[in-house]
Amino acid sequence: MKIIIQGGRVVDPANQTDGLFDVLIEDGKIKAVGKNLPVGQDVRLIDARGLLVTPGLIDMHVHLREPGREDKETIATGCAAAAAGGVTSLACMPNTSPVNDNKSVTEFILRRSREVDLVGVYPIGAISKGLRGEEMAEMAEIWEAGAVACSDDGRPVMNALLMRRALEYARLFDFPLISHCEDLNLSADGVVNEGYISTLTGLKGIPAAAEEVMVARDLLLAKMTKGRLHIAHVSTATSCALIRQAKQEGVQVTAEATPHHFSLTEDLVANFDPNTKVNPPLRTQADRQAVIEALADGTIDAIASDHAPHTLAEKEQEYDLAPFGIVGLETLLSVSLTNLYHTRKLDLLTLIAKLTVNPAKILNLPAGTLSVGSAADICLIDPEKRIVVDASRFYSKGRNTPFHGQELKGCVVMTLRAGRVVFPRDTAEAVAGER
């Protein structure tokens, strides 16, 4: 089976390609990228005129919730949401129940993902057993089973000695440790950014320093151990500055930012909508702009959604009681295009790199490129089409997004995974297969 994607603007940062080309797919792999590729017999043509043709997106920070909280999300619904968001590879966090701190959980996630067979799923193991922050999880076993990184995401590793040892130990595998930077003593019981909005609303604040002291600590530990550190969901201006400085000093650090942190600010919280409750919290306008600058100058390498689905009942509560988290797989690209590309902060090659080749490099994934011979994971994007976010139409079980009702510019038109169209799909089939 051959497919030719004709006449689109191919944006492939891995090869620094940006131009009008056809893409030939054969047996699920990229066979050729070139001008006016000959159309032979038995070829399916996809008309991509006016569209961007990019590598399938990679979301390196997703909570799939299965095993354990299948009421929030399953591997099937999460993968369907990914496909709808143009994401063909995702890395899923270990804070499931049971925690992914051993190979049986890693293997379960990989097996379920293969059965679902929509997008590539790469499990992230825990740094500490049970995410308790006390002793190291058996990283070698998790790595052998197929995990691509370790993280205690959702919780910080409060014990600096444990973090030091984990960074050292992970050098065995050339494997990044993904740090959720938060000093729990400083964040206390906070639920929103500490500042004007916490003062105005009386909601308890999480100071920027709760993140920054841990970013600083982990950068020092990475420097000392020569371990590979990846900072998750960078949200403050000072975090950006610390990472920028560490990179200049040659520390092996990478970082990601979420669409909500570079698009929204704490001002949204003033109406007490629990869909604005996220950790780290939405910060100030100055922080938001600093994150965008850090994306533009390469300090922040990747854009990741921190897709965190919750049930409606959990989110429809008083602000303090609602859990932290925003779903992001299905708005990842549209929000990024709207707030980074259409605002001229990032050009397309830079933006798409942060959604493809950069996270692929951080996690050593065989993905994120349209190079000949690689898997035909492809995203077709209409960069100009205006959409209004309607959370009720998400494939994800989660509806918790502050972007609901917002108009965005640019959207995913089609997603191919190994040469197979995984979005758009027959709705009836989707519902029968995934709920």
């Binding site: 206390a188 004007y196 003062t199 105005l200 009386g202 909601l203 604040g205 008083e318 602000y319």
Partner: protein, 306 residues
Amino acid sequence: MFKRKDLLGIQELSREEICFILDTAESFKEVLTRPIKKVPTLRGKTVINLFHEPSTRTRVSFEIAGKRLSADTINISPSASSLTKGESLKDMAKTLEAMNPDIIVIRHPIPGAPHFLAQKAKFAVINAGDGAHEHPTQALLDLLTIREHKGKIEGLKVAIVGDIIHSRVARSDIFALVKMGAAVKVVGPPTLIPPLIEKLGVVVEYNLERGIADCDVIILLRIQLERQNRLFFPSIREYSRLYGLTLAKLSKAQKDVLIMHPGPINRGIEIDPQVADAPFSLILDQVTNGLAVRMALLYLILGGES
């Protein structure tokens, strides 16, 4: 004029609305002095007091206010309600709504809970205190008390002293006083002053003597005794030595200074008994005015048009 469905906070009220509420409250004060202190204004209306936190004065004040206006008042407290059985606030709102009450007066430990309730249901909602956010009826009764004794609010110098960061009274008082043209200082240790509070139009002062210098009105806040465990200050003893208001420290304020406190007071901690019981202490006037303000609000929200 007052045309709102709910009273959720002072922040969203205009100066005109505040004056109208105060004027209405003043007219209700007369009712409170009659031999038969009951008028039929809200006959057939139902007021539910839904108090998720312990409260004596506010709950009793709303209950008496409702009864003086002939409304049927019902009290629900968490220990006696289905909330202890795991029912969500949303489901409770729906259940109460099915009984068709006219007003829910809610006290809740979490900021925004009254707003949540007001969005979910048709009945009117009065915020009787939501966490550290707002306590609008307290601010209104404070304004009424100040206006009665000073004849005005505009141009007065008011100090709010104590645990500002955790205080809904402080926030509502600040919104109210700044709107009415008073000059407001907040006074307390740096750990109990929230960040960027200057943006609300107030001046911050850490030193009590300097904070109350030249003030016309001093509003003291209750210090919550458990705060010392959360590292806000070393001890009650030290807090009291620095911020407890005594007659000696008061000599720095205006001669005709007024002392107010939302209660309940910690005698000998934030307020010396000689200050609490002095003739210029308006603590009990505040309680009386609270009744008038709450009658006015129940009337304006429910009966105003009929």
